[in-house]
């Protein structure tokens, strides 16, 4: 395979990892915990997209044969699926995170409660639409060709889209975080929730905002992966979720550009693993993660770790 092809493959996979890690990092920055239900929200985004473009449910599951009475173009379905995923993320916050915060319980318990929420979501999907895989037809892109030539290589349109949308979302997110009142509020809560509260920022609303945004990003990423690969069953978000975790630490916990940079690095590194060693591809990101944790625990773009005395 030629170099450009490898680069495009790596960057587009990396873009997905980056979107995934962005969702983790938004929640981590305000609450200091990891949302293990994030992978399930991503999976839901993929299924929402599939249904919204008019896909029919297979023969297994309670919703067998179900089909929405309308079919949206992919461009309409993707943001709507993102919104749907955002609503689910808000629900996860409501049941798995807020009760713990209200009781001032150990934040690490959220690892377990969010995992419980994830288990429920994944098995709910399985119950409703079955365990089979679904493919979003590339025809969903309308008139766009399946691939186009670029500097002598053939690039799949989906891959270019993945990369483009990830970069666009990152840019919008950064602009919003730096330029808007709510964005600054979110950063203030990430810095110190109590002080932010004293300054008149509604920190509960900011936490909700972080969850909503992370759900939207995960939903969009899910829809895009569903289009570029396929929806390989209710569990397919888990693998991405784990990679996202590695990416999160690699880039630096709580760092927005770090999440995207980490995603691209891991995606590229995996793409450069030779075919003979492809079985070891999944270990690459964790190997990286290990190295970074040992050499620079705060991650590539993270802030220095606070030390409590």
């Amino acid at each position: 395979m030629d170099l450009l092809q490898i680069l495009v493959n790596g960057l587009s996979v990396g873009a997905v990892y980056g979107l995934f890690a962005l969702g983790y990092t938004l929640v981590f920055s305000v609450l200091g915990v990891i949302n293990f239900a994030h992978g399930a929200v991503f999976t839901l985004g993929a299924y929402f997209t599939y249904l919204l473009i008019g896909g029919a449910v297979g023969a297994n599951g309670l919703l067998a044969g179900f089909q929405l009475p309308f079919a949206l173009p992919f461009w309409g379905a993707l943001p709507l699926a993102g919104l749907g995923a955002a609503l689910v993320a808000l629900l996860v916050e409501r049941v798995a995170f807020r009760p713990l915060r209200r009781r001032r319980a150990d934040p690490l318990l959220a690892l377990i409660t969010s995992l419980g929420a994830g288990v429920i979501l994944v098995n709910l999907i399985q119950l409703l639409v079955g365990a089979e895989s679904y493919a979003i037809p590339t025809g969903a892109l309308g008139g766009l060709p399946a691939s186009f030539p670029l500097l002598g290589a053939r690039v799949r349109t989906v891959q270019a889209l993945l990369l483009g949308i990830a970069v666009l979302l990152l840019a919008l997110l950064t602009l919003w975080l730096e330029g808007s009142r709510n964005g600054k509020g979110l950063q203030a809560v990430a810095e110190d929730a109590e002080t932010a509260q004293l300054l008149g920022i509604d920190s509960t609303a900011m936490v909700r905002l972080a969850f909503g945004l992370s759900g939207f990003l995960a939903g969009v990423a899910g829809g895009l992966v569903g289009l570029s690969v396929s929806i390989a069953g209710p569990y397919f978000g888990i693998g991405y979720g784990l990679k996202g975790l590695a990416v999160l630490v690699l880039g630096g916990l709580g760092s927005v550009p770090g999440a995207v940079l980490g995603g691209l690095i891991v995606g590229l590194a995996e793409a450069f693993v030779p075919a003979d060693w492809s079985g070891y591809k999944d270990a690459v990101s964790y190997g990286f993660l290990f190295l970074v944790l040992l050499l620079r625990p705060r991650g590539l773009l993270g802030r220095p770790l606070p030390t409590k005395v």
């Binding site: 690892l111 995992l115 419980g116 288990v119 098995n123 888990i238 964790y286 944790l293 040992l294 770790l305």
Partner: protein
């Protein structure tokens, strides 16, 4: 109760103790399933490949099982010893993620190394016991030993040092506790216990593959400890027993089974943030037993 299910519950309790040991000095390590898988592979490879361990036909001698458990525990302990130094410098969520990464790296290795049988794993592991009841008795003894050691720890200098680190690592270091060494001991002990359990489990399950040590297992074993309570050893034991049995006991509800399991994991920490077993509840239980015993003694006196 079904002896095979009971055996799985006992194995769950042993794994929960393995997660509990590092937590006892405040270290959230999720590496247990990785070491469990390593121990299982040691037993599987030795008993299917080395004549001295294999025994005759489908049975294998008990001394061979003990030797495999020792070797499986030793290899897991050595891996823990090798990586423990740098890894245990990490704290909190960073340590948790690093240990998840370790489990995944071990899983990928187990899946791809030339001698571990790939995705299918290793089959036809010989049986040291004729039936599940044999395993249950043996595992009960092992669990009792592990519990006794955990109880002993409470009164040893080492155990006190671990508790001090959990409560405040800096203060512990200030009063002269060698915190890196204590944390390393806890981490290695956790790995050895997981490796020993894996060696036993490989025989019990009769086959072994890379799925034994996965991310799911990391979180499930952590759920054992959180659910049961992380401060006292009866907590993880109870959590391991109950949460291993739960998906099986929920089988009658069919497709809803894993959804209900998720609901238990979700709601458990909300209603019991300290876990089921706390010092207070143990005291209350002891008081209850005491009163019961007194009443029993008084009963014959009142005609």
């Amino acid at each position: 109760m079904d002896a095979a299910l009971f055996e799985q519950m006992l194995l769950g309790a042993l794994l929960a103790l393995s997660v509990y040991l590092p937590l006892r000095c405040g270290q959230l390590s999720l590496a247990t399933p990785g070491f469990y898988a390593v121990g299982g592979y040691v037993a599987a490879l030795l008993s299917t490949g080395v004549p001295a361990f294999a025994g005759s036909g489908a049975t294998s001698p008990l001394p061979a099982l003990l030797a495999e458990m020792a070797l499986g525990g030793a290899l897991a302990g050595l891996i823990a010893l090798a990586i423990g130094g740098p890894v245990l410098r990490l704290r909190g969520i960073y340590l948790a993620i690093a240990t998840i990464a370790l489990v995944e790296i071990l899983r990928v290795l187990n899946l791809n190394l030339p001698f571990t049988g790939g995705a299918m794993g290793i089959f036809g592991i010989p049986q040291p016991f004729a039936n599940a009841e044999g395993y249950v008795l043996f595992t009960l003894a092992l669990l009792a030993l592990a519990c006794w050691l955990c109880q002993r720890l409470e009164s040893l200098r080492l155990g006190r040092a671990m508790a001090a680190i959990r409560d405040d690592e800096l203060a512990a270091a200030c009063v002269g506790i060698d915190t890196p060494r204590t944390k390393l001991i806890a981490f290695v002990a956790s790995a050895v216990l997981a490796g020993v359990t894996g060696a036993l489990a490989a025989h019990f399950f009769n086959s072994w593959n890379a799925r034994a040590g996965s991310f799911d297992a990391s979180i499930t074993t952590l759920a054992f400890v959180v659910f049961g309570g992380s401060r006292l050893w009866p907590g993880p034991v109870l959590g391991g027993l109950v949460l291993t049995a739960l998906p099986e006991l929920l089988r009658p509800v069919g497709d809803l089974r894993l959804i209900l399991f998720g609901a238990v994991i979700l709601l458990g920490p909300l209603f019991f943030p300290q876990g089921l077993v706390t010092a207070e509840r143990l005291r209350w239980l002891a008081g209850l037993l005491d009163r019961g015993r007194q009443r029993g003694r008084q009963a014959p006196q009142t005609p």
